[in-house]
């Protein structure tokens, strides 16, 4: 095997290029940020800046809204994937194609049009605002924007798994007298759960870092509807580099943790999937 492994040419060249490009674009800039913080911000300042009241409010909103949005996406994403894989209905292909729309639409456009829809005179706000549901310029707006942005993740991770699932297990459950609902709860849900969780984590990761769509719809009031990435930008615009970098490092550490959890989740989920 060892002899066969390296028979293809170009390992050194392509590996070298990959590492250089990766370093130039990702690793060195990231290291620069972390180094700068270590150099210029003392531990005490770091702690003070990272846990300032305004920062805490921003994390709370960012993580809270991202979690709610990812949860909505987990529920509706599972439903969408189920409907798209299992049922036949007119317009199915169109619906399938539309699911990717949030990936294709620039986030600024998404934020702009959602803010307009949910504003008092917008198509949806017209009906919702009199009911007391303020979608635009409130924390709820953040959830709406993040739901839009994260929508494709759960659907697209779940779809291939549902497609490749053998249906004889369900048949067996049915022959043994389980109702459809019971089959879903006891057989399907536990099998699909790891994959749904992975989609949830991906949608969550994307939502925590999201900036473009949110700033259009959130209203951006400090302590109330200001997300963490926006606070980084605000600090930068005030030339408060220490503040901006500290928050950025906090977000960066969180991204690492999430990326590792997604990696572990995907390994766990692959136990539940038939071999590709």
């Amino acid at each position: 095997m060892a002899a066969k492994r390296f028979r293809l040419p170009g390992f050194g060249l392509t590996m070298g290029y990959t590492l250089c490009y990766l370093s130039a674009v990702v690793l060195i800039p990231m290291a620069a940020l972390v180094l700068r913080v270590l150099e210029q911000v003392s531990w005490w300042d770091f702690w003070r800046l990272a846990t300032a009241e305004r920062a805490l409010a921003a994390y709370k909103l960012s993580f809270g809204a991202a979690a709610v949005a990812a949860l909505i996406n987990a529920l509706f994403g599972t439903l969408l994937a189920w409907v798209l894989v299992r049922y036949r209905f007119p317009g199915k292909r169109l619906m399938d194609a539309l699911v990717d729309f949030p990936f294709a639409l620039p986030t600024a456009v998404a934020g702009l049009t959602l803010a307009n829809l949910f504003a008092a005179e917008g198509w949806l706000g017209r009906f919702l605002v009199p009911l007391g549901i303020q979608g635009a310029y409130t924390p709820l707006g953040v959830v709406i924007a993040l739901t839009f942005v994260g929508m494709p993740f759960v659907v697209r991770t779940l779809q291939p798994v549902l497609e490749s699932m053998e249906r004889d297990v369900e048949e067996a459950a049915a022959t043994l007298g389980a109702g459809r609902f019971r089959t879903f709860c006891c057989i399907l849900a536990p099998t699909l759960l790891p994959t749904v969780l992975m989609g949830f984590a991906q949608a969550f990761a994307r939502a925590v870092g999201e900036y473009g769509s949110v700033i259009f719809i959130a209203g951006n009031k400090p302590f109330e509807s200001e997300i963490a990435p926006l606070l980084v930008v605000m600090r930068l615009e005030e030339y408060d580099y220490a503040g901006a970098m500290t928050l950025a490092v906090v977000l960066l550490v969180f991204s690492f943790v999430l990326l590792i959890s997604i990696h572990l989740l995907s390994r766990w989920a692959s136990h539940f999937q038939p071999a590709a």
């Binding site: 290029y17 800039p29 990231m30 292909r93 620039p106 494709p152 249906r167 700033i215 995907s266």
Partner: protein, 314 residues
Amino acid sequence: MKTKSDTDLIRRAQARRLHRGIEEPRWVQWLLIGVAGGFVGVFLVLPLINVFVQALGRGVRAYWKAVIEPDTLAAVKLTLQVAAITVPLNTVFGLVAAWVIAKFEFRGKALLNTLIDLPFAVSPVVGGLMFVILFGTHGYLGPWLQQHHIQIIFALPGIVLATVFVTFPFVAREVVAVMQASGTEQEQAALTLGASGWQTFWRVTLPNVKWGLLYGVVLCNARAMGEFGAVSVVSGHIAGRTDTLPLRVDKLYHDYNTTGAFAVASLLAVLALVTLLLKTLLEWHQERQFQRAQQVVTEPGLEPSRPQPTGVPV
């Protein structure tokens, strides 16, 4: 009477079969389809239609006037420039990285894979900030760059760098998946028959992965043209010079020029629709190829694989 009870019996038998079988009753199916359709309608279709309705709200003439404004045209030009530099850079990287990851076994491969996915997980704002720290006036290389009159931040190079960072994994992710699925047998055959490494790559590997590659390029391009957060941090927002289309939308919106903002947004929405169309066509093409390959039993190495459906960390 008799016929009615007959049909009743039949219906009840059917219901029991449904109940015992592996299908939900029709009404449950339609209910679920309805809820899913409603969700897609409210969250995807309405926002899309709204963009065009708002853009054309004050008539075609006002729309056209907003589009041909000099600052908007400059933004179109800059956006196209940024994509024209970013996409080829990340495409070449995607192909090279895929070759390493798909064709060789080495230690640290999982780590390399994760590192390539890293920009997906990092907030674009943080990505932009990294380049400010590196190249800005207060950054590591800032003083040196200033001495030599090289401007990176608040200029085209900075915008390109930030965009390259954000769109970094798109092509690589897709091509790695396709290249891994196609194995190494064909390349080894080509090499045994005397082809050079280059020839093997151009004549064997590239044709095998071209659809996955195209798919990645389409997604990469959409994100490159639409990126907001990272670009916003490094651009400096100089009207007519460093405003890309998404930044232009933001500026018009903050100037309370809603029609103008939506007019520019509609250009980006058209881009999104074209992206979606290309993506769907590519997927159908893949699917057909996949089915054909499954019908005609071919050598295992020749089976084309479907691309991973999303550009997300897996």
